[in-house]
Amino acid sequence: MAGAHSTLAKRLIVLWTVAIIGFLYIPMVSVVLASFSRKRYFSFPINAWDTKWYEKAFQSLSVRELLTTSLNVAVLVTIFSVFLAFLGALAFARYDWKGRKLFQKVVLLPIFFPQAVLGLALLLWFSALGITTSWQTAVFAHMIWIVPIVTLIISIQVYSFDPALEEAAFDLGASRWQVLREVTLPILSPGLVSGSVFAFLLSWGNFPLSLFTTGADQTVPEWLYAKMVSGYTPMVPTLGSLTMGGAVLVVFGVYLMFMLRKWRRGGKDAGPAVESESGA
Protein backbone atom coordinates (compact mmCIF):
# COMPACT_ATOMS: atom_id res chain seq x y z
CA MET A 1 0.00 0.00 0.00
CA ALA A 2 2.81 2.30 0.98
CA GLY A 3 4.39 1.68 -2.44
CA ALA A 4 1.25 2.68 -4.31
CA HIS A 5 0.91 5.67 -2.06
CA SER A 6 4.41 6.90 -2.76
CA THR A 7 4.03 6.31 -6.52
CA LEU A 8 0.98 8.53 -6.48
CA ALA A 9 2.85 11.13 -4.45
CA LYS A 10 5.73 11.05 -6.93
CA ARG A 11 3.35 11.50 -9.86
CA LEU A 12 1.68 14.43 -8.14
CA ILE A 13 5.06 16.04 -7.52
CA VAL A 14 5.99 15.64 -11.19
CA LEU A 15 2.64 17.05 -12.27
CA TRP A 16 2.98 19.97 -9.90
CA THR A 17 6.50 20.74 -11.10
CA VAL A 18 5.49 20.60 -14.77
CA ALA A 19 2.51 22.85 -14.03
CA ILE A 20 4.70 25.45 -12.36
CA ILE A 21 7.26 25.43 -15.15
CA GLY A 22 4.43 25.71 -17.69
CA PHE A 23 2.87 28.56 -15.78
CA LEU A 24 6.18 30.40 -15.70
CA TYR A 25 7.31 29.81 -19.24
CA ILE A 26 4.27 29.56 -21.52
CA PRO A 27 3.74 33.34 -21.62
CA MET A 28 7.36 33.84 -22.56
CA VAL A 29 7.21 31.12 -25.19
CA SER A 30 4.24 32.89 -26.71
CA VAL A 31 6.29 36.07 -27.02
CA VAL A 32 9.01 34.12 -28.81
CA LEU A 33 6.40 32.52 -31.07
CA ALA A 34 4.91 35.92 -31.83
CA SER A 35 8.30 37.14 -32.97
CA PHE A 36 8.40 34.46 -35.67
CA SER A 37 4.95 35.30 -37.03
CA ARG A 38 4.62 36.98 -40.43
CA LYS A 39 1.41 38.70 -39.43
CA ARG A 40 1.49 42.14 -37.96
CA TYR A 41 -0.80 41.14 -35.10
CA PHE A 42 -0.38 38.13 -32.90
CA SER A 43 -2.84 35.29 -33.28
CA PHE A 44 -2.62 31.65 -32.36
CA PRO A 45 -2.00 29.17 -33.95
CA ILE A 46 0.61 30.76 -36.17
CA ASN A 47 -0.04 29.99 -39.81
CA ALA A 48 2.80 31.81 -41.47
CA TRP A 49 6.31 31.63 -39.97
CA ASP A 50 8.92 34.21 -40.77
CA THR A 51 12.28 35.46 -39.52
CA LYS A 52 12.09 38.80 -41.27
CA TRP A 53 11.63 40.70 -38.01
CA TYR A 54 14.93 39.37 -36.76
CA GLU A 55 16.61 40.40 -40.00
CA LYS A 56 15.11 43.82 -39.64
CA ALA A 57 16.15 44.03 -36.00
CA PHE A 58 19.76 43.23 -36.80
CA GLN A 59 19.84 45.74 -39.64
CA SER A 60 18.09 48.52 -37.80
CA LEU A 61 20.34 51.26 -36.47
CA SER A 62 17.82 52.32 -33.84
CA VAL A 63 17.62 48.76 -32.47
CA ARG A 64 21.37 48.66 -32.33
CA GLU A 65 21.33 51.94 -30.44
CA LEU A 66 18.74 50.64 -27.97
CA LEU A 67 20.76 47.51 -27.30
CA THR A 68 23.94 49.55 -26.93
CA THR A 69 22.31 51.88 -24.40
CA SER A 70 20.89 48.97 -22.38
CA LEU A 71 24.25 47.19 -22.50
CA ASN A 72 26.20 50.30 -21.48
CA VAL A 73 23.92 50.92 -18.53
CA ALA A 74 23.96 47.28 -17.42
CA VAL A 75 27.73 46.90 -17.71
CA LEU A 76 28.49 50.08 -15.79
CA VAL A 77 25.90 49.25 -13.14
CA THR A 78 27.46 45.80 -12.77
CA ILE A 79 30.99 47.12 -12.33
CA PHE A 80 30.10 49.90 -9.89
CA SER A 81 27.59 47.96 -7.84
CA VAL A 82 29.79 44.89 -7.40
CA PHE A 83 32.66 47.11 -6.28
CA LEU A 84 30.49 49.04 -3.80
CA ALA A 85 28.61 45.95 -2.67
CA PHE A 86 31.87 44.06 -2.04
CA LEU A 87 33.03 46.75 0.38
CA GLY A 88 29.52 47.07 1.79
CA ALA A 89 29.21 43.33 2.32
CA LEU A 90 32.44 43.26 4.32
CA ALA A 91 31.08 46.07 6.50
CA PHE A 92 27.72 44.35 6.59
CA ALA A 93 28.81 40.83 7.50
CA ARG A 94 32.40 40.84 8.68
CA TYR A 95 33.43 43.68 10.88
CA ASP A 96 31.72 44.64 14.08
CA TRP A 97 31.42 48.39 14.42
CA LYS A 98 29.17 50.95 16.00
CA GLY A 99 26.07 51.51 13.87
CA ARG A 100 26.44 48.26 11.98
CA LYS A 101 22.91 47.13 12.84
CA LEU A 102 21.50 50.42 11.57
CA PHE A 103 23.63 50.19 8.43
CA GLN A 104 22.28 46.69 7.76
CA LYS A 105 18.73 47.97 7.83
CA VAL A 106 19.24 51.26 6.01
CA VAL A 107 21.25 49.71 3.20
CA LEU A 108 18.49 47.21 2.42
CA LEU A 109 15.61 49.64 2.58
CA PRO A 110 15.67 50.85 -1.08
CA ILE A 111 14.88 47.28 -2.20
CA PHE A 112 11.41 47.66 -0.67
CA PHE A 113 10.55 51.07 -2.13
CA PRO A 114 8.30 51.02 -5.20
CA GLN A 115 10.70 51.60 -8.07
CA ALA A 116 8.42 54.12 -9.75
CA VAL A 117 8.49 56.26 -6.61
CA LEU A 118 12.26 55.89 -6.40
CA GLY A 119 12.52 56.88 -10.05
CA LEU A 120 10.31 59.91 -9.61
CA ALA A 121 12.21 60.99 -6.51
CA LEU A 122 15.48 60.77 -8.41
CA LEU A 123 14.07 62.67 -11.38
CA LEU A 124 12.97 65.50 -9.06
CA TRP A 125 16.34 65.45 -7.38
CA PHE A 126 18.25 65.52 -10.67
CA SER A 127 16.27 68.48 -11.93
CA ALA A 128 16.65 70.29 -8.61
CA LEU A 129 20.42 69.87 -8.98
CA GLY A 130 20.28 70.96 -12.61
CA ILE A 131 21.50 67.62 -13.94
CA THR A 132 20.20 66.70 -17.39
CA THR A 133 18.96 63.12 -17.30
CA SER A 134 20.52 60.64 -19.72
CA TRP A 135 21.59 57.01 -19.70
CA GLN A 136 24.39 58.00 -17.30
CA THR A 137 21.91 59.21 -14.69
CA ALA A 138 20.03 55.94 -15.20
CA VAL A 139 23.19 54.10 -14.18
CA PHE A 140 23.09 55.98 -10.90
CA ALA A 141 19.37 55.30 -10.46
CA HIS A 142 19.76 51.58 -11.11
CA MET A 143 22.57 51.40 -8.60
CA ILE A 144 20.40 52.77 -5.79
CA TRP A 145 18.16 49.76 -6.17
CA ILE A 146 20.71 47.17 -7.25
CA VAL A 147 23.63 47.84 -4.88
CA PRO A 148 21.59 46.73 -1.82
CA ILE A 149 20.56 43.51 -3.54
CA VAL A 150 24.11 42.71 -4.60
CA THR A 151 25.34 43.60 -1.10
CA LEU A 152 22.96 41.02 0.29
CA ILE A 153 24.12 38.36 -2.18
CA ILE A 154 27.82 38.94 -1.48
CA SER A 155 27.15 39.12 2.29
CA ILE A 156 25.95 35.52 2.22
CA GLN A 157 29.36 34.49 0.92
CA VAL A 158 31.13 36.73 3.45
CA TYR A 159 29.20 35.15 6.33
CA SER A 160 30.53 31.71 5.43
CA PHE A 161 34.10 32.99 5.13
CA ASP A 162 36.33 32.16 8.11
CA PRO A 163 38.21 35.40 8.99
CA ALA A 164 41.04 33.21 10.29
CA LEU A 165 41.94 32.58 6.64
CA GLU A 166 42.87 36.22 6.17
CA GLU A 167 44.69 36.26 9.50
CA ALA A 168 46.62 33.14 8.52
CA ALA A 169 47.70 34.71 5.23
CA PHE A 170 48.70 37.92 7.03
CA ASP A 171 50.57 35.89 9.64
CA LEU A 172 52.45 34.09 6.85
CA GLY A 173 53.84 37.42 5.70
CA ALA A 174 51.30 38.61 3.13
CA SER A 175 50.58 42.34 2.86
CA ARG A 176 46.97 43.58 3.02
CA TRP A 177 46.90 43.73 -0.75
CA GLN A 178 48.32 40.21 -1.12
CA VAL A 179 45.74 38.90 1.37
CA LEU A 180 43.01 40.47 -0.76
CA ARG A 181 44.39 39.07 -4.02
CA GLU A 182 45.42 35.62 -2.79
CA VAL A 183 42.70 34.82 -0.27
CA THR A 184 39.74 37.19 0.04
CA LEU A 185 38.86 37.71 -3.61
CA PRO A 186 39.31 34.10 -4.75
CA ILE A 187 37.24 32.77 -1.87
CA LEU A 188 34.51 35.36 -2.33
CA SER A 189 34.55 34.98 -6.12
CA PRO A 190 31.42 32.79 -6.34
CA GLY A 191 29.52 35.51 -4.48
CA LEU A 192 31.04 38.24 -6.64
CA VAL A 193 30.07 36.37 -9.81
CA SER A 194 26.49 35.75 -8.66
CA GLY A 195 26.32 39.38 -7.58
CA SER A 196 27.51 40.49 -11.03
CA VAL A 197 24.95 38.31 -12.79
CA PHE A 198 22.16 39.73 -10.64
CA ALA A 199 23.37 43.29 -11.12
CA PHE A 200 23.59 42.88 -14.88
CA LEU A 201 20.23 41.18 -15.33
CA LEU A 202 18.32 43.45 -12.96
CA SER A 203 19.68 46.49 -14.78
CA TRP A 204 19.23 44.94 -18.24
CA GLY A 205 15.56 44.28 -17.62
CA ASN A 206 14.73 47.33 -15.52
CA PHE A 207 11.90 49.51 -16.72
CA PRO A 208 10.46 51.76 -13.96
CA LEU A 209 13.74 53.39 -12.94
CA SER A 210 14.88 53.84 -16.54
CA LEU A 211 11.54 55.39 -17.49
CA PHE A 212 12.14 58.33 -15.14
CA THR A 213 15.86 58.74 -15.39
CA THR A 214 17.12 58.10 -18.94
CA GLY A 215 15.94 61.42 -20.30
CA ALA A 216 16.25 61.47 -24.09
CA ASP A 217 18.01 58.08 -24.16
CA GLN A 218 16.04 54.89 -24.32
CA THR A 219 16.74 51.36 -23.10
CA VAL A 220 15.16 48.26 -24.62
CA PRO A 221 12.49 47.81 -21.91
CA GLU A 222 11.47 51.45 -22.30
CA TRP A 223 11.16 51.09 -26.04
CA LEU A 224 9.13 47.88 -25.64
CA TYR A 225 6.72 49.67 -23.35
CA ALA A 226 6.41 52.69 -25.62
CA LYS A 227 5.70 50.52 -28.65
CA MET A 228 3.16 48.43 -26.78
CA VAL A 229 1.30 51.52 -25.75
CA SER A 230 1.23 52.85 -29.27
CA GLY A 231 2.61 51.58 -32.55
CA TYR A 232 2.88 47.82 -31.96
CA THR A 233 4.86 45.91 -34.54
CA PRO A 234 6.20 42.34 -34.32
CA MET A 235 9.50 44.07 -33.62
CA VAL A 236 8.23 44.23 -30.03
CA PRO A 237 8.21 40.45 -29.42
CA THR A 238 11.37 40.18 -31.52
CA LEU A 239 13.32 42.57 -29.38
CA GLY A 240 11.65 41.12 -26.28
CA SER A 241 12.87 37.66 -27.28
CA LEU A 242 16.34 39.02 -27.96
CA THR A 243 16.60 40.57 -24.50
CA MET A 244 15.35 37.37 -22.87
CA GLY A 245 17.82 35.43 -24.99
CA GLY A 246 20.59 37.72 -23.73
CA ALA A 247 19.62 37.05 -20.14
CA VAL A 248 19.51 33.29 -20.70
CA LEU A 249 22.93 33.44 -22.38
CA VAL A 250 24.44 35.29 -19.42
CA VAL A 251 22.98 32.85 -16.88
CA PHE A 252 24.05 29.76 -18.80
CA GLY A 253 27.46 31.23 -19.55
CA VAL A 254 28.13 31.75 -15.87
CA TYR A 255 26.73 28.32 -15.01
CA LEU A 256 29.07 26.74 -17.55
CA MET A 257 31.98 28.69 -16.11
CA PHE A 258 31.24 27.35 -12.63
CA MET A 259 30.91 23.80 -13.90
CA LEU A 260 34.17 24.08 -15.79
CA ARG A 261 35.95 25.38 -12.72
CA LYS A 262 34.54 22.59 -10.59
CA TRP A 263 35.55 20.01 -13.18
CA ARG A 264 39.07 21.39 -13.44
CA ARG A 265 39.44 21.43 -9.69
CA GLY A 266 38.14 17.87 -9.52
CA GLY A 267 40.79 16.85 -12.06
CA LYS A 268 43.55 18.04 -9.73
CA ASP A 269 42.60 15.63 -6.99
CA ALA A 270 44.48 12.45 -6.38
CA GLY A 271 41.39 10.65 -5.14
CA PRO A 272 39.00 10.51 -2.22
CA ALA A 273 40.21 11.36 1.25
CA VAL A 274 41.57 8.43 3.20
CA GLU A 275 41.77 8.42 6.97
CA SER A 276 45.22 6.90 6.87
CA GLU A 277 45.99 7.69 10.52
CA SER A 278 43.01 5.83 11.86
CA GLY A 279 44.81 2.63 11.00
CA ALA A 280 48.12 3.79 12.43
Binding site: D162, A169, F170, Q178, V274, S276
Partner: protein, 359 residues
Protein backbone atom coordinates in the same frame (compact mmCIF):
# COMPACT_ATOMS: atom_id res chain seq x y z
CA UNK B 1 63.20 26.34 40.14
CA UNK B 2 61.53 26.75 36.78
CA UNK B 3 64.08 29.00 35.15
CA UNK B 4 64.59 29.12 31.43
CA UNK B 5 67.42 26.77 30.52
CA UNK B 6 68.53 28.40 27.28
CA UNK B 7 68.82 32.11 26.54
CA UNK B 8 65.27 33.49 26.41
CA UNK B 9 63.96 34.06 22.89
CA UNK B 10 60.66 35.56 24.01
CA UNK B 11 60.09 37.79 27.01
CA UNK B 12 56.76 39.05 28.27
CA UNK B 13 56.88 41.99 30.62
CA UNK B 14 53.77 43.01 32.51
CA UNK B 15 51.50 42.17 29.60
CA UNK B 16 47.89 43.33 30.02
CA UNK B 17 44.99 43.25 27.61
CA UNK B 18 41.71 44.91 28.42
CA UNK B 19 38.49 44.90 26.45
CA UNK B 20 36.53 47.79 27.94
CA UNK B 21 36.21 46.98 31.62
CA UNK B 22 37.14 43.36 31.16
CA UNK B 23 40.75 42.36 31.77
CA UNK B 24 41.44 39.33 29.61
CA UNK B 25 45.17 39.18 30.28
CA UNK B 26 46.43 40.49 33.57
CA UNK B 27 50.06 41.43 34.19
CA UNK B 28 51.85 38.44 32.71
CA UNK B 29 55.60 38.09 33.08
CA UNK B 30 57.14 35.17 31.28
CA UNK B 31 60.36 34.08 29.64
CA UNK B 32 60.48 31.37 27.01
CA UNK B 33 63.80 29.81 26.10
CA UNK B 34 65.10 29.31 22.57
CA UNK B 35 64.23 25.83 21.37
CA UNK B 36 61.80 25.24 24.19
CA UNK B 37 58.41 23.55 23.89
CA UNK B 38 56.34 25.79 26.15
CA UNK B 39 52.65 25.16 26.72
CA UNK B 40 50.14 27.55 28.19
CA UNK B 41 47.28 25.62 29.76
CA UNK B 42 44.04 27.00 31.08
CA UNK B 43 40.32 26.39 31.10
CA UNK B 44 38.23 28.14 28.46
CA UNK B 45 37.88 31.83 29.26
CA UNK B 46 41.22 31.94 31.06
CA UNK B 47 42.64 34.34 28.47
CA UNK B 48 45.04 31.99 26.74
CA UNK B 49 43.69 32.65 23.24
CA UNK B 50 43.89 36.40 23.86
CA UNK B 51 47.46 35.98 25.06
CA UNK B 52 48.55 34.02 22.00
CA UNK B 53 46.91 36.58 19.71
CA UNK B 54 49.03 39.25 21.41
CA UNK B 55 52.15 37.17 20.92
CA UNK B 56 51.44 36.55 17.24
CA UNK B 57 50.56 40.18 16.60
CA UNK B 58 46.86 39.84 15.77
CA UNK B 59 46.14 42.12 18.72
CA UNK B 60 48.12 44.71 20.64
CA UNK B 61 48.57 44.59 24.41
CA UNK B 62 47.00 47.42 26.41
CA UNK B 63 50.09 47.50 28.56
CA UNK B 64 53.49 45.85 28.84
CA UNK B 65 56.16 44.74 26.40
CA UNK B 66 56.74 41.72 24.24
CA UNK B 67 60.41 41.18 23.41
CA UNK B 68 61.78 38.82 20.80
CA UNK B 69 65.52 38.36 21.25
CA UNK B 70 65.52 41.61 23.25
CA UNK B 71 63.74 43.56 20.47
CA UNK B 72 60.39 45.12 21.28
CA UNK B 73 57.67 43.52 19.16
CA UNK B 74 54.54 45.36 20.30
CA UNK B 75 54.15 47.58 17.27
CA UNK B 76 55.38 45.14 14.64
CA UNK B 77 52.39 43.88 12.64
CA UNK B 78 51.87 40.12 12.36
CA UNK B 79 53.03 39.98 8.73
CA UNK B 80 56.41 41.45 9.65
CA UNK B 81 57.07 39.24 12.66
CA UNK B 82 59.38 36.27 12.24
CA UNK B 83 56.80 34.10 14.01
CA UNK B 84 53.93 32.06 12.74
CA UNK B 85 50.84 30.35 14.09
CA UNK B 86 48.93 27.13 13.48
CA UNK B 87 45.29 28.14 13.94
CA UNK B 88 42.64 26.27 15.86
CA UNK B 89 40.59 25.97 12.67
CA UNK B 90 43.89 25.36 10.82
CA UNK B 91 42.76 28.05 8.34
CA UNK B 92 43.92 26.09 5.31
CA UNK B 93 43.12 27.98 2.12
CA UNK B 94 40.20 26.01 0.66
CA UNK B 95 40.77 27.26 -2.89
CA UNK B 96 44.37 26.09 -2.99
CA UNK B 97 45.97 22.67 -3.33
CA UNK B 98 48.08 21.06 -0.61
CA UNK B 99 51.23 22.24 -2.40
CA UNK B 100 49.94 25.80 -2.85
CA UNK B 101 49.02 25.95 0.82
CA UNK B 102 52.46 24.83 1.97
CA UNK B 103 54.21 27.17 -0.47
CA UNK B 104 52.11 30.21 0.40
CA UNK B 105 54.67 32.12 2.46
CA UNK B 106 57.42 31.33 -0.05
CA UNK B 107 55.27 32.59 -2.92
CA UNK B 108 54.60 35.78 -0.96
CA UNK B 109 58.29 36.35 -0.41
CA UNK B 110 59.07 35.75 -4.07
CA UNK B 111 60.81 32.35 -4.00
CA UNK B 112 60.77 30.83 -7.49
CA UNK B 113 58.50 27.92 -8.37
CA UNK B 114 61.08 25.14 -8.53
CA UNK B 115 62.67 26.01 -5.18
CA UNK B 116 59.22 26.28 -3.61
CA UNK B 117 58.21 22.87 -4.81
CA UNK B 118 61.45 21.32 -3.61
CA UNK B 119 60.99 22.74 -0.11
CA UNK B 120 57.31 21.75 -0.05
CA UNK B 121 58.23 18.17 -0.98
CA UNK B 122 60.88 18.09 1.74
CA UNK B 123 58.33 19.19 4.33
CA UNK B 124 55.74 16.74 3.06
CA UNK B 125 58.26 13.94 3.45
CA UNK B 126 59.18 15.10 6.94
CA UNK B 127 55.51 15.24 7.96
CA UNK B 128 54.65 11.90 6.35
CA UNK B 129 52.35 13.37 3.73
CA UNK B 130 52.28 11.31 0.51
CA UNK B 131 53.97 13.31 -2.26
CA UNK B 132 51.06 12.73 -4.66
CA UNK B 133 48.97 14.92 -2.34
CA UNK B 134 50.90 17.89 -3.68
CA UNK B 135 48.20 18.68 -6.24
CA UNK B 136 45.28 17.45 -4.16
CA UNK B 137 42.66 19.88 -2.91
CA UNK B 138 42.97 20.45 0.84
CA UNK B 139 39.24 19.90 1.34
CA UNK B 140 39.68 16.29 0.34
CA UNK B 141 42.27 15.53 3.01
CA UNK B 142 41.45 13.87 6.33
CA UNK B 143 41.66 15.58 9.71
CA UNK B 144 45.14 14.29 10.48
CA UNK B 145 46.43 15.16 7.03
CA UNK B 146 45.06 18.66 7.35
CA UNK B 147 46.94 19.07 10.64
CA UNK B 148 50.15 18.06 8.92
CA UNK B 149 49.51 20.43 6.01
CA UNK B 150 48.94 23.32 8.41
CA UNK B 151 52.16 22.46 10.23
CA UNK B 152 54.08 22.15 6.94
CA UNK B 153 52.73 25.53 5.83
CA UNK B 154 53.91 27.11 9.08
CA UNK B 155 57.32 25.42 8.94
CA UNK B 156 57.79 26.56 5.33
CA UNK B 157 57.71 30.10 6.68
CA UNK B 158 60.78 29.17 8.77
CA UNK B 159 59.55 31.02 11.87
CA UNK B 160 61.74 31.74 14.87
CA UNK B 161 58.81 30.80 17.09
CA UNK B 162 55.92 28.60 16.09
CA UNK B 163 52.66 29.22 17.94
CA UNK B 164 49.84 26.71 18.18
CA UNK B 165 46.30 27.66 19.09
CA UNK B 166 44.86 24.35 20.23
CA UNK B 167 44.99 22.76 16.78
CA UNK B 168 44.30 19.21 17.98
CA UNK B 169 41.10 20.08 19.87
CA UNK B 170 38.72 18.85 17.20
CA UNK B 171 40.31 15.44 16.63
CA UNK B 172 39.29 12.11 18.08
CA UNK B 173 41.24 10.73 21.02
CA UNK B 174 43.49 8.25 19.24
CA UNK B 175 44.50 10.56 16.44
CA UNK B 176 45.16 13.32 18.95
CA UNK B 177 47.47 11.08 20.96
CA UNK B 178 49.39 10.10 17.80
CA UNK B 179 49.76 13.70 16.69
CA UNK B 180 50.83 14.92 20.14
CA UNK B 181 53.81 12.58 19.98
CA UNK B 182 54.51 13.46 16.36
CA UNK B 183 54.52 17.12 17.25
CA UNK B 184 57.05 16.51 19.99
CA UNK B 185 59.19 14.57 17.50
CA UNK B 186 58.99 17.42 15.02
CA UNK B 187 59.93 19.87 17.73
CA UNK B 188 63.05 17.80 18.36
CA UNK B 189 63.87 17.46 14.65
CA UNK B 190 63.50 21.14 13.86
CA UNK B 191 64.92 22.53 17.10
CA UNK B 192 62.50 25.45 16.87
CA UNK B 193 60.75 27.18 19.75
CA UNK B 194 57.17 25.96 20.05
CA UNK B 195 54.58 27.84 22.10
CA UNK B 196 51.40 25.84 22.39
CA UNK B 197 48.09 26.60 24.06
CA UNK B 198 45.55 24.03 25.14
CA UNK B 199 42.90 23.43 27.76
CA UNK B 200 44.19 19.94 28.39
CA UNK B 201 46.93 19.61 31.00
CA UNK B 202 47.30 15.99 29.97
CA UNK B 203 48.15 17.08 26.42
CA UNK B 204 50.57 19.67 27.81
CA UNK B 205 52.27 17.02 29.96
CA UNK B 206 52.95 14.77 26.97
CA UNK B 207 54.63 17.41 24.83
CA UNK B 208 56.05 20.24 26.86
CA UNK B 209 59.41 21.11 28.33
CA UNK B 210 57.65 23.62 30.56
CA UNK B 211 54.05 24.47 31.25
CA UNK B 212 52.42 27.72 32.32
CA UNK B 213 49.04 27.35 34.00
CA UNK B 214 46.68 30.21 33.29
CA UNK B 215 43.62 31.24 35.24
CA UNK B 216 41.49 34.37 34.93
CA UNK B 217 44.05 36.19 32.81
CA UNK B 218 47.04 35.43 35.03
CA UNK B 219 49.68 32.75 35.02
CA UNK B 220 49.42 30.94 38.33
CA UNK B 221 52.34 28.56 37.98
CA UNK B 222 55.17 27.88 35.57
CA UNK B 223 57.15 24.68 35.76
CA UNK B 224 58.23 21.45 34.14
CA UNK B 225 55.53 18.78 33.82
CA UNK B 226 57.20 17.04 36.78
CA UNK B 227 57.02 20.16 38.96
CA UNK B 228 53.44 20.91 38.01
CA UNK B 229 52.44 17.37 38.81
CA UNK B 230 54.34 16.93 42.04
CA UNK B 231 54.41 20.44 43.41
CA UNK B 232 51.24 22.23 42.36
CA UNK B 233 51.24 25.73 43.78
CA UNK B 234 47.56 25.83 44.63
CA UNK B 235 44.34 23.88 44.66
CA UNK B 236 43.41 25.10 41.16
CA UNK B 237 46.58 23.67 39.61
CA UNK B 238 46.27 20.44 41.59
CA UNK B 239 42.68 19.89 40.58
CA UNK B 240 43.28 20.94 37.00
CA UNK B 241 45.41 17.85 36.46
CA UNK B 242 42.54 15.52 37.18
CA UNK B 243 40.70 13.97 40.11
CA UNK B 244 42.49 14.42 43.42
CA UNK B 245 41.60 14.01 47.08
CA UNK B 246 41.32 17.43 48.68
CA UNK B 247 40.98 18.28 52.37
CA UNK B 248 40.81 21.66 54.02
CA UNK B 249 43.60 21.76 56.63
CA UNK B 250 45.34 24.05 59.11
CA UNK B 251 48.81 24.10 60.60
CA UNK B 252 48.84 22.15 63.86
CA UNK B 253 51.09 22.45 66.86
CA UNK B 254 53.47 19.74 65.72
CA UNK B 255 56.15 20.21 63.09
CA UNK B 256 55.02 17.99 60.19
CA UNK B 257 51.38 17.48 61.01
CA UNK B 258 48.33 19.33 59.75
CA UNK B 259 44.82 18.97 61.00
CA UNK B 260 41.32 19.20 59.56
CA UNK B 261 38.42 21.10 61.09
CA UNK B 262 37.06 17.93 62.74
CA UNK B 263 40.34 17.08 64.38
CA UNK B 264 41.82 14.48 62.00
CA UNK B 265 45.59 14.77 61.82
CA UNK B 266 47.74 13.95 58.81
CA UNK B 267 51.48 13.80 58.42
CA UNK B 268 53.24 15.72 55.71
CA UNK B 269 56.91 15.75 54.71
CA UNK B 270 57.26 19.32 55.91
CA UNK B 271 55.13 22.41 56.38
CA UNK B 272 56.43 25.60 54.77
CA UNK B 273 57.09 28.35 57.32
CA UNK B 274 54.49 30.71 55.83
CA UNK B 275 51.73 28.09 55.70
CA UNK B 276 48.79 28.71 58.03
CA UNK B 277 45.80 27.09 56.35
CA UNK B 278 45.00 25.69 52.94
CA UNK B 279 44.43 22.34 51.31
CA UNK B 280 45.94 18.93 51.59
CA UNK B 281 46.06 17.25 48.20
CA UNK B 282 46.61 13.52 47.80
CA UNK B 283 46.66 12.02 44.31
CA UNK B 284 44.46 8.91 44.00
CA UNK B 285 47.39 6.84 42.72
CA UNK B 286 49.33 7.65 45.91
CA UNK B 287 46.60 6.22 48.09
CA UNK B 288 46.78 2.51 48.93
CA UNK B 289 43.91 0.32 50.01
CA UNK B 290 43.64 -2.77 52.18
CA UNK B 291 46.84 -4.56 53.09
CA UNK B 292 48.96 -2.20 51.02
CA UNK B 293 47.86 0.62 53.34
CA UNK B 294 49.21 -1.13 56.45
CA UNK B 295 52.03 0.70 58.13
CA UNK B 296 51.71 3.94 56.15
CA UNK B 297 52.00 7.23 58.05
CA UNK B 298 48.46 8.38 57.18
CA UNK B 299 45.40 6.17 57.32
CA UNK B 300 41.65 6.66 57.03
CA UNK B 301 38.93 4.11 57.77
CA UNK B 302 35.91 3.76 55.59
CA UNK B 303 33.63 1.63 53.52
CA UNK B 304 34.33 0.60 49.93
CA UNK B 305 31.43 2.12 48.04
CA UNK B 306 32.21 1.45 44.39
CA UNK B 307 34.92 0.58 41.89
CA UNK B 308 35.53 1.76 38.32
CA UNK B 309 37.83 0.51 35.61
CA UNK B 310 39.96 3.27 34.03
CA UNK B 311 41.74 1.04 31.56
CA UNK B 312 45.23 0.52 32.93
CA UNK B 313 44.08 1.35 36.45
CA UNK B 314 41.18 0.62 38.77
CA UNK B 315 39.60 3.37 40.79
CA UNK B 316 37.90 2.79 44.13
CA UNK B 317 35.60 5.13 45.95
CA UNK B 318 35.80 4.91 49.72
CA UNK B 319 33.41 6.73 52.06
CA UNK B 320 35.20 7.48 55.27
CA UNK B 321 33.56 6.99 58.64
CA UNK B 322 34.18 10.64 59.46
CA UNK B 323 31.97 11.61 56.52
CA UNK B 324 34.31 13.66 54.33
CA UNK B 325 33.71 13.73 50.64
CA UNK B 326 34.45 10.29 49.11
CA UNK B 327 38.08 9.27 48.83
CA UNK B 328 39.48 8.15 45.52
CA UNK B 329 42.04 5.37 45.36
CA UNK B 330 43.70 4.16 42.18
CA UNK B 331 45.52 0.86 41.80
CA UNK B 332 47.10 -0.77 38.77
CA UNK B 333 44.82 -3.21 36.99
CA UNK B 334 47.12 -6.17 37.79
CA UNK B 335 47.25 -5.51 41.54
CA UNK B 336 43.58 -4.97 42.37
CA UNK B 337 41.94 -4.87 45.76
CA UNK B 338 40.40 -8.27 46.18
CA UNK B 339 37.67 -7.55 48.70
CA UNK B 340 33.97 -6.92 48.19
CA UNK B 341 31.91 -3.74 47.96
CA UNK B 342 30.73 -2.45 51.35
CA UNK B 343 33.82 -3.91 53.04
CA UNK B 344 35.21 -1.95 55.94
CA UNK B 345 38.60 -0.89 54.58
CA UNK B 346 41.65 1.08 55.56
CA UNK B 347 43.24 3.44 53.07
CA UNK B 348 46.56 5.15 53.57
CA UNK B 349 49.41 7.11 52.01
CA UNK B 350 52.97 8.07 52.75
CA UNK B 351 53.67 11.47 54.25
CA UNK B 352 55.80 12.28 51.14
CA UNK B 353 52.62 12.03 49.08
CA UNK B 354 50.84 14.69 51.11
CA UNK B 355 50.84 17.86 49.02
CA UNK B 356 50.11 21.09 50.90
CA UNK B 357 48.87 24.06 48.94
CA UNK B 358 48.03 27.45 50.29
CA UNK B 359 44.66 28.13 48.68
Amino acid sequence: MSEVGAKPILQLRKICKKFGDFTAVNNINLEIGAGEFFTIVGPSGSGKTTLIRLLVGMDQPTDGDILLRDKRLNDVPANQRPTCMVFQSLALFPHKTVGENIEFSMKISGVDGAARKERANELMKQLRLPLEYYSKNVNQCSGGERQRIALARALAFDPQILFFDEPLASLDFRLRKTLEKELKDIHRETGKTFVYITHSLEEAMVMSDRIGIMRRGSIVQVGTPHEIYNRPRNKFVAQFMGEVNTLEVRRSGEASVCSTGDGQQFQVAGIPAEFQSGHLIIRPEAVKIGEAAQGLENTVRGKLFNSYSLGSRLQYQVRSTSGDSPWLVEMLQDEPYTGELDDEVVIGWRKEDSILVSD
